[in-house]
């Protein structure tokens, strides 16, 4: 009988709601989220329970203080994990589904702010990574132009990296726009 297991999943920053749903479904099958190592989600076997999982994002890790955790706990949210992404952090909360409020953000304004925080953080992160890769990209592009076809791999990787961040930015912008329209 296995008491823990790891599941590989990739959830980009704009799909945290899908990640929440994934954790909820696992708990319904008796696998409860315990920890995250990059893309490997660790689960512990237990009784099937209906838990609501919610993620919060803060762009500065030191904003997470005891006041924050105590307030969330008062509202019924147990903080079960935190995932640090450089200076930012994703807080993982869990609450038994018992009919009480199961959202962290209950009005459009604060939902838009959350999405805005995520978008801004990953925009700067993307600019940072792309900038420090720029020197390499220029060298690789030069090789490619000089006829070294293998350099195509490097150029493609660079374009892929930029593409990921652009996609993230566009997806989150679309979510914000939808909220602003009141849909």
């Amino acid at each position: 009988m296995n008491y823990t297991k790891s599941v590989f999943r990739i959830f980009t920053a704009d799909n945290y709601d899908k990640e929440e749903e994934f954790l909820r479904e696992m708990s319904l099958e008796g696998w409860h989220f315990r920890a995250l190592n990059l893309f490997w989600y660790e689960f512990e076997k237990g009784e099937p329970r209906e838990y609501n999982y919610k993620l919060d994002f803060k762009p500065r890790y030191n904003e997470i203080d005891s006041e924050y955790l105590t307030m969330f706990k008062d509202f019924g949210w147990e903080r079960i994990y935190e995932f640090r992404a450089f200076r930012g952090v994703w807080e993982y909360f869990r609450k038994e589904a018992d009919g009480a409020e199961n959202e962290l953000y209950t009005d459009d304004e604060s939902k838009i702010e959350l999405l805005g925080r995520i978008r801004r953080f990953y925009l700067f992160l993307g600019i940072f990574f792309v900038s420090i890769s720029l020197v390499n990209a220029v060298n690789i592009a030069r090789l490619f132009v000089e006829g070294a076809e293998y350099a195509l791999i490097g150029v493609s990787a660079y374009a892929f990296l930029i593409g990921l961040y652009v996609k993230l930015y566009v997806r989150i912008s679309a979510k914000i726009k939808r909220l602003k329209k009141g849909i």
Binding site: M71, F75, T106, E109, S110, L114
Partner: protein, 108 residues
């Protein structure tokens, strides 16, 4: 003060969340107390989320609408400042006008 007027125009008209938070803080409360009070006032129609409330309290404190007055049971308690009362009063005036004009308007 110019800065205060900027804040005032930013908060009026007010969202229901902001209105009910400010209303609740006429008397000192902590976060969970605010949420329960608003649930009571609205017959559970509005149940403020932890994230929404935490964020609003930070912003309102930053804008000078509320002040931190100490800890009760390791929880921060807040109350309205004089400026906060002024902003709330302005909003109450606005919605009173709405109410007075709406009252009886559709009765045939």
């Amino acid at each position: 003060m110019g800065a205060e007027n900027d804040i005032l125009t930013r908060y009026i008209p007010m969202s229901e969340t902001a209105f009910y938070i400010l209303l609740s803080l006429i008397e000192p409360k902590h976060g969970y107390g605010i949420m329960r009070h608003v649930e009571e006032l609205t017959g559970r129609r509005i149940s403020l989320g932890a994230g929404t409330l935490y964020g609003s309290l930070s912003k309102m404190e930053g804008s000078g609408l509320i002040r931190y007055i100490g800890e009760v049971n390791k929880r921060k308690s807040y109350e309205l400042t004089t400026f906060g009362k002024r902003v709330l009063r302005a909003e109450i005036t606005r919605i009173t006008e709405l109410y007075n004009n709406a009252k009886g308007a559709l009765e045939q």
